[in-house]
Symmetry: C2
Subunit: 431 residues, 2 copies
Amino acid sequence: MNIIEMAAKAKEASIKLSAINGDKKNKALERIAIKLEERKNEIIEANKEDIQRSEKENLAAPLLKRLKFDENKIKDVIDGIKSLIGLEDPVGKTIHSTVLDDGLELFRVTCPIGVIGIIFESRPDALVQISTLCLKSGNSVLLKGGSEARETNRILTKVINEASIEAGMPDGWISQMETRSDVSEMLKMDGYIDLIIPRGSNEFVRHIMNNSKIPVMGHADGICHCYVDNDADLEMAVKVVADSKTQYVAVCNATETLLVNEDIAKVFLPALKVEMDKRQVELIGCENTQKIISVKPAVEEDWKTEYLDYVLSIKLVKDVDEAIAHINKYGSGHTDAIITKDKAKAAAFMSLVDSGNVFWNCSTRFSDGFRYGFGAEVGISTSKIHARGPVGLDGLIIYKYKLIGNGQTVEEYSKHIRTFKHRMSDKNFPL
Amino acid sequence: MNIIEMAAKAKEASIKLSAINGDKKNKALERIAIKLEERKNEIIEANKEDIQRSEKENLAAPLLKRLKFDENKIKDVIDGIKSLIGLEDPVGKTIHSTVLDDGLELFRVTCPIGVIGIIFESRPDALVQISTLCLKSGNSVLLKGGSEARETNRILTKVINEASIEAGMPDGWISQMETRSDVSEMLKMDGYIDLIIPRGSNEFVRHIMNNSKIPVMGHADGICHCYVDNDADLEMAVKVVADSKTQYVAVCNATETLLVNEDIAKVFLPALKVEMDKRQVELIGCENTQKIISVKPAVEEDWKTEYLDYVLSIKLVKDVDEAIAHINKYGSGHTDAIITKDKAKAAAFMSLVDSGNVFWNCSTRFSDGFRYGFGAEVGISTSKIHARGPVGLDGLIIYKYKLIGNGQTVEEYSKHIRTFKHRMSDKNFPL
């Protein structure tokens, strides 16, 4: 089967999948969890093969780390599937309904998006996570993994496919594209794929975002900020900044730049430095910062850099407005926090910072689907439409309008034989 | 000011605009309505100039018709603004909130998208409609109109800009791009523009959709269907099909293809033909249709054609499944209707037809923001994400997550010193 045929089949399957009820989809998810457990040795073997080959091919260490799919990772994805089963079916919910006129009722009802393209580097757990999220939400999925993980991806796709088909899911709802070409072929399939979710390094995601006509949901950069205001509780500020920077440095919601109100810099920066030294964080600072504590001099490029490491850039600002302007200029729209006791300044910050997540007096590391209580996460989106911030199952859902009448024509209304009532209703779609 | 400066200014203004309250935005809308009325003679003069020049340049008749902006059109857009003022402010609404833990509260709050690019052919009323919708929803707007309407667009933009600035809106929230180049320059501004809304002919919209990295909201084709089932009330079917086809032929929600269950074709088609002849509709039919009534033979291309005229293509199908498959293959995801007395077939049709609007026993012409009771319409979207079907003000809105804490760190939760409560709440964002 060539990739166009695969895509056509996925589209066809997506229609069938959209009409399958929640119980049946949950049975398929259960079956997938069981099969992954049953065949874990095969999966681990396949993964070892990938790792050995990739080591020979000198794959970069972080990619190699993400490639590893051992017993613990398998347990994690199975646990993920189990918690997914517990979530409410997101499909077929009536969001709102309006009586346009007696006997003419409009319903806005949730439905799957259609075909989701998943493009990922290394991490085989992303394959299992996102494809089971797609199944739960009634979407077909086309997978394009990196060649470094090809054996692992192959067996995982096979297991998920077989288990779900046994449980009555439509053939073709999941397929893996294996071509020698790069992802560019997939990016051109806008006739078949409705949404692309990329998972991988910043460069990888940015490449996909810059080269696709298909909508992309995700984030490339995570340039997150903490702003410590002159009205901050400085002890709290040190604690929150330390957590935001160091609780886990290699992730998108770790803070990269600290903005400090110049009025409290002389008191705050030395205290911060003690804590940062303890945590072995390299500090890079603007000219005014350099006058107060010993730091490496910052250059313009630092404000645009996602270190993903024990490195923090620091800039002094005049006030909350300058902090907001800096964040909106250099940030990536991901997550930004203000530390202050002043409610009005917090309100301004949270209103004017144009990011998917804006925090008051807590760590930027909270920006995460699990911590938000979504139960499952598709990814974190920095786009401005459809879904923003941590995206749960509802990011894979859209709606359609369903109108039920008994022979009404527009002519009757345009000639004023009948008039619209437009009465809000709380009725669910009855079919 | 060059267009990059304009775009940067629009982005800056969008931040300010996002924090302006509903009353103040309504005052600006009132002021715009007043100024449009006050300066209507100037506007009409400018439009006459455009029409005269365009006539000399032999602009196509439909474009010329859409270009006209007379006293009635001005009254219409002013009425539109007045009804827009009556709508609730879509910004700052708490969609849901969760208590992550005591003293750590998450709110999902609506906010504007940012900068909307509007690209339109001819119709100056689209300029007023969409830019006032943008203002109400707190978005900046960059306009790129066709050169045929340049004088009208100039004066309209000027009036809207002046009136809104007087009422305290931020400078630069609206600007008109006038360059000799085509729209391609605007389509490249993905660093500034968050969403493009095109208004114009199918070819025009398709060109924009095919050449933009920026998300596009709208529709190119409107290939809508009626399916008349063997369990239909045939009298109702004739009435609904006639309305769907002829109530207004030049619009996207007019039916282009009729699918008829072969079991009732011999009774239904002659009755339909009488009505269609009366309404001077040319019929084009598949081979099986040709055996029953006199029609022009249909070719494959007919199933993909949006006639926008008194022309209807007819195809006989075996059952509702074949009708659904035909629609999903040839349709444009806009609006499709089934006429049947059978509830189960209606349910299947409404579930499996992959269109933004699926109707049971009523005319496809109902697919419209005003008829749906939205009060104002941005356009009709056939995309699969963000907004689908007729799009009201909420299509210009997204959300951000606002998290309020008192010094919490992720470390405390990862070390199980504290645990998440994830308790749903009905609290509104308090700042």
